[in-house]
């Protein structure tokens, strides 16, 4: 046998593992860049700052109902 198969196999191993690691390390870098880019330019729009808290909202609703009811009573006075 002219060539030593094991020696050839070891060479393949160096090349193969090298390429796999370099490729995936590059891929990691690309993933980080693309995450940064997307975060920079396409970050999801933050929801508009609320003008009132949910508690206020509830109070406003109750106020509106009371106002509506009193208007109705004014318009339809009962005998």
């Amino acid at each position: 046998m002219d060539i030593n198969l094991v020696a050839e196999g070891l060479k393949f191993m160096v090349l193969g593992m090298g390429v796999v690691f370099v490729f995936l390390a590059l891929l990691v870098q690309m993933m980080k860049w693309q995450a940064a880019l997307v975060a920079r330019y396409f970050s999801p729009k933050s929801p508009p700052a609320p003008f009132y808290t949910p508690a206020d909202d509830e109070q406003a609703r109750i106020a509106a109902i009371i106002a509506a009811v009193s208007e109705f009573r004014k318009a339809h006075p009962k005998g």
Partner: protein
Amino acid sequence: MKRILLALVASWIALSVMVSAQETAHETVPSAQTALAEKAFESKSIPQLMGDFFGTTGLNAIVNPKHEMHTIGGKQVDIAWYESWGRVIMFVIVFLLFYLAIAKGFEPLLLLPIAFGGLLANIPIANMTGDHGMLGIIYNMGIANEFFPLLIFMGVGAMTDFGPLLSHPKTALLGAAAQFGIFGSLVGAAALSQYTDMFHYTLKQCASISIIGGADGPTSIFIASALSPELLGAIAVAAYSYMALVPVIQPPIMRALTTKEERQIVMTTTRKVHHLEKLIFPLVVVMMIALILPDAAPLMGAFAFGNFAKESGVVDRLSGEMQNSLINIVTIFLGLGVGSKLQADKFLVPETLGIMVIGLVAFGVGTAAGVLMGKLMNAFSKEPINPLIGAAGVSAVPMAARVVSKVGSEEKPGNILLMHAMGPNVAGVIGSAVAAGVLLSIFK
């Protein structure tokens, strides 16, 4: 009843002796004359008809195998043994595969069609694996030209979610480390053929055996049919059997290489990934393949296309088809086509035994390399990394990730590692496709 059966058997045997005597007589007749004789129909007596019919039965073919010299494993061998006992042994092996697929749930989607293909391939006389046989047609249609594995990869791409990987990009390195299973076992296979007399693998054969360590069925079939189609049957059976055995093979290795504290590490929660990142990712992969390793373009191209179709969100009909009907149809063909290589004279050779052993070692070495890389990364990383997730770096999606999650929650109930393990898991698919590309580029 028994007597009738006995009498029948006795008459079959008597007939078989007659027929074999006839065959030896026929051999002396020049072939030109027999060709002429075939054209004119001759009236035959009942015993003659029955005798001729017996000559066409499979029983006769197995009892009276033809003697021909073929090259098997680089040696001139009389194929008579393969035509008789070889077939019987293959039937037994095929039934064992049925048992594993049905009763034990070993990757039934592929092992069952493969085993049935093997059953059909070993039917004597029918020549199902010939150019005009059903299995032969399927094999030539999509396996000899490496087409079916690519379609499978397309479907796998359409099913894969890269979200977990994108939220923890670093874990891709674990998928790289686990590919050591491939190259380590390549050296192992080379050593076996260099230093023992039992196995004589060429370097191409070593390469296609070692790809079993990538734990990726379609990639294994792709490489085997490209580099050494004669070993395809054994390689596919080994790859899918060991993939089914991931829950058995991996946990002991994972436990042996890690301390209890390491196994209990809780990882920080995953970041929410913007949809645009998932959409860009397959394009990034294709561009990198285009620039660095065009030899992996068929595999990664199909994979990225499937994934891009899914993430685009506008062609749900197409991606749905890839994930369902297409991958199912191709799985049927792929299984039967691979099964056609389970013929006795191709499977019952010492090489198959070597493939089974090397494949198992490859799985173990890949797992170990992934876990060790996990330990290394944990030592240097700011965020804690549970080394167990390194074991998911061998592809075997999503089985390996599930195994990791199971082992993790056994060590510390409530520690869910599944999403963290999916990152290295899908990176492992890319890693083994890259490794496959490197092997192809070496032998071009």
